[in-house]
C-alpha cells in the first residue's frame, strides 16, 4: 500500500465513528422530527447561510462569523496565551524549588478545584461588561492545569541528566534551555493541550451572559428566540474551531517534540 493509501486508510479509521454518529443524527431527526433537534442536513444548510459567504476577499466567511467568532477567538487567544506565559513560568519555579512548591502547591490545588464559572458574577463586578472579564475567566480556568503539568514535568527531570549537565559546568540559562525545558516538554505540552479544551469551553460559557457579542452570546440569542437550527449551527462552528485548534496544536507539538520518538495523543 502506498503512502497515499495508508493516509486514506488512517483517515477512514479515525473518522468512521464520527461519520456513523452524524448519519445517526440525520436518521434520528428525520424519523422523529422536532424543532429542538433538527436534521444534520438542515443544520449544515443553515451553517452555510449563517457563517459563510461567496466573497473570496473575505475568505468566504460571513460578516457575522468574522464579528462573533473573531471576538470570541480574540478573547480566547489573549486569555490562553497569558495563561501559557504565567503557567509555564510559575510551573518552572514550583518544579525546581521544593520550598516554593511546598508553599504554593495547596493554593494551586485549591484553585484547580474551584469551578471557575462560579466566579463569573465576581469577574463582572471587577472588570465590568468588557472583554477583560472573558479574558480573565479563560486565563483563570486554564492557568492551573498548565502550572501543575509544568511543575510535574520539571520536577520529574532525570537527576542523572542534571548531574551530567552540572559536571559540564553549564550556565543556569543553558541548563534550562538545553536540559530542563526539553525534558519537561512532554508534560508541558500535555498541560497546554488540556488547557486548550478548557479554554474553549470557558470562551463559550463566559459569553453566556454579561456580554453583547461573541459565539456564546449568539448561542443564547438563538436559544431564547427558539431558533434551534441557528443554535446547532453555532455548536457545529464551535466544534470545528476546536478541531482546527487541536490540529494546529498537534502540528506544533510534533515539531516541538520531534526529538522524542513517541506517539502523541492524537495517534492513539
Amino acid at each position: 500500500m502506498g503512502g497515499v493509501g495508508r493516509a486514506a486508510a488512517r483517515v477512514a479509521g479515525a473518522g468512521w465513528l464520527v461519520a456513523l454518529l452524524l448519519a445517526a443524527w440525520e436518521v434520528y431527526a428525520r424519523i422523529w422530527p422536532s424543532v429542538f433537534f433538527p436534521p444534520l442536513s438542515e443544520v449544515l444548510g443553515n451553517f452555510s447561510r449563517m457563517w459563510l459567504s461567496a466573497d473570496a476577499s473575505s475568505l468566504f466567511t460571513s460578516d457575522l462569523l468574522r464579528e462573533q467568532a473573531g471576538t470570541s477567538l480574540g478573547r480566547f487567544a489573549m486569555g490562553w496565551l497569558l495563561a501559557v506565559v504565567v503557567g509555564v513560568t510559575l510551573g518552572m519555579l514550583l518544579g525546581r524549588s521544593p520550598v516554593a512548591s511546598r508553599m504554593y502547591n495547596p493554593t494551586v490545588r485549591f484553585f484547580t478545584a474551584v469551578p471557575n464559572t462560579m466566579l463569573l458574577p465576581i469577574a463582572v463586578q471587577i472588570f465590568g461588561i468588557t472583554s477583560r472579564m472573558n479574558v480573565f475567566l479563560i486565563f483563570l480556568g486554564t492557568v492551573w492545569v498548565i502550572i501543575i503539568n509544568t511543575a510535574d514535568g520539571v520536577a520529574g527531570v532525570d537527576e542523572m541528566w542534571l548531574r551530567s549537565a552540572r559536571s559540564l559546568r553549564l550556565s543556569r540559562w543553558t541548563l534550562y534551555r538545553s536540559v530542563v525545558i526539553p525534558a519537561a516538554m512532554p508534560r508541558i505540552m500535555t498541560g497546554l493541550r488540556v488547557s486548550l479544551g478548557i479554554g474553549l469551553i470557558l470562551m463559550i460559557i463566559s459569553e453566556l451572559y454579561a456580554t453583547t457579542v461573541g459565539l456564546g452570546f449568539q448561542i443564547v440569542v438563538a436559544e431564547k428566540s427558539f431558533l434551534y437550527v441557528d443554535m446547532w449551527s453555532a455548536f457545529v462552528l464551535v466544534g470545528l474551531i476546536g478541531i482546527v485548534l487541536n490540529s494546529i496544536f498537534t502540528l506544533v507539538e510534533r515539531r516541538v517534540l520531534r526529538w522524542q520518538r513517541r506517539s502523541s495523543l492524537s495517534d492513539l
Partner: protein
C-alpha cells in the same frame, strides 16, 4: 484461507463502539415514544378522581394565585390536583413542556408567541398577572444612576441597558419603551445580568441603565427611575405579564383539568383582590417566595387576573411584529382555546 489481520484490541473497540451507538439509539427511541404519548405526568382522562397537573414555578411572590388556590383547596374544588415543579425560566419551562415532563409552563406571552411562530405548538390556558396602567402603580423601572447625565430614553442611544434575559419580555418591552419615547432602539445594546445584579451594575457605572423591578430602584444606592416601560408600552392598557401554557395536544386531552385550573385561579384572584384578605395574601406570598412580609406590603403589585385578555395579547403580538422579532405573529384565537375564559 483469508484471515482477519485486525488486532483483537481494535476489533473489540469497534464492537464496543457499535454497542454504545445502538444503546444510545435505543434509549433515544424509547424517550421519543414516551414524548409522543404526551408523557405520564397527568392521569389519563376518565380514570376517576382529580387529574394531576404538573406546573412549573419560578418561586416568585407574584405567583400568589397558585399558592392561594393550593392553600385554600380551590384546585381540588375544581377537580384538579396541582404539583408545582421548580423551573429556571420561561424558556426552560417551555422546553420541559415539550419533553412531556410537565403539563403547564409558567411563562410570558412573548416567549409563547415566538415559540409558536417557530413551530412549537402551544396553547395559553390562564393568565397569572398583568401590568399596571399608571406610573403611580409602577412595578418596574428603567433605572439609571441618580447623578447620571441620562435624563430620557433618547440619551440611552449608543448605551448598554441591562436586562435579566436576552430576548426576553423585559428586553422587548424596554425596546418598545425606547421607541415610544422617541429613541432609536437599534442604537442600544442589551446585556443579560441576574436580577439581583442589575441595580448594582447601574449604581457602579458598569452599565448605563437597567430594566429592573421598581423596588430595587433605591435612592440610597444612588438610583432613580425614568419610568415603568410596561406602562408606556401598554399605552393606557394593561398588558399580560405572565401566564400558564400547555401543548396543543394536552390542551385537548386534558381539557377538563385545564378548565379546572383556570377556574381555580379565577376564584383565587377574586379572594386575593378582596381587601379583607390583604394580610393573609401577603403572609402566604411571603411564605412561598421566602421574602419579608413587610417588604412585600411596601411594594406595589401587578394586577392579578386569570382570565385571558385577548385584546392585550393582540397588542403584544403587534409589538413583536413592529420590532421585527416575528414577521407574522399568531392570531390570539389560534393559541387560546375556545373553552378558556376571556376578557377584552
Amino acid at each position: 484461507m483469508k484471515t482477519d489481520s485486525t488486532p483483537r484490541r481494535v476489533r473489540r473497540g469497534r464492537t464496543l463502539g457499535g454497542l454504545v451507538l445502538a444503546g444510545a439509539l435505543l434509549v433515544a427511541g424509547c424517550g421519543t415514544s414516551a414524548d409522543d404519548a404526551g408523557g405520564d405526568s397527568a392521569q389519563p382522562a376518565g380514570s376517576g378522581g382529580p387529574q394531576t397537573l404538573k406546573v412549573t414555578t419560578l418561586g416568585l411572590c407574584n405567583e400568589i394565585s397558585v399558592y392561594w388556590a393550593q392553600a385554600k383547596g380551590l384546585f381540588a374544588k375544581h377537580g384538579v390536583n396541582v404539583q408545582t415543579v421548580k423551573s429556571t425560566g420561561g424558556a426552560a419551562g417551555l422546553s420541559a413542556l415539550q419533553s412531556g415532563d410537565i403539563d403547564l409552563a409558567f411563562t410570558n406571552p412573548f416567549s409563547t408567541m415566538i415559540a409558536i411562530s417557530r413551530g412549537i405548538p402551544l396553547q395559553w390556558i390562564a393568565t397569572a398577572y398583568g401590568t399596571p396602567t399608571d406610573e403611580s402603580a409602577a412595578t418596574n423601572a428603567i433605572a439609571v444612576a441618580k447623578d447620571s447625565p441620562i435624563k430620557s430614553a433618547k440619551d440611552l442611544e449608543g448605551k448598554t441597558i441591562g436586562v435579566n434575559e436576552i430576548g426576553g419580555i423585559n428586553q422587548i418591552i424596554t425596546t418598545a419603551w425606547l421607541k415610544e419615547k422617541g429613541a432609536n432602539p437599534a442604537g442600544v445594546k442589551f446585556v443579560a445580568l441576574p436580577f439581583n445584579e442589575l441595580a448594582s451594575a447601574v449604581a457602579t457605572g458598569k452599565i448605563a441603565a437597567s430594566q429592573t423591578p421598581a423596588q430595587t430602584v433605591d435612592p440610597k444606592l444612588g438610583l432613580k427611575t425614568l419610568g415603568d416601560p410596561y406602562v408606556v408600552a401598554g399605552k393606557g392598557k394593561s398588558l399580560v405579564f405572565a401566564g400558564y401554557v400547555t401543548t396543543t395536544e394536552k390542551s385537548k386531552t386534558l381539557q377538563k383539568a385545564m378548565q379546572g385550573y383556570q377556574a381555580a385561579l379565577i376564584e383565587a384572584d377574586t379572594q386575593i383582590n378582596d381587601p379583607a384578605n390583604k394580610e393573609e395574601h401577603f403572609t402566604l406570598a411571603a411564605q412561598n417566595c421566602k421574602q419579608d412580609v413587610n417588604v412585600l406590603k411596601a411594594i406595589k403589585e401587578n394586577p392579578y387576573l386569570a382570565e385571558v385578555d385577548a385584546g392585550a395579547l393582540t397588542q403584544m403580538a403587534q409589538i413583536l411584529k413592529d420590532q421585527g422579532v416575528i414577521a407574522d405573529p399568531p392570531a390570539v384565537d389560534s393559541f387560546v382555546p375556545a373553552y378558556v375564559v376571556k376578557t377584552g
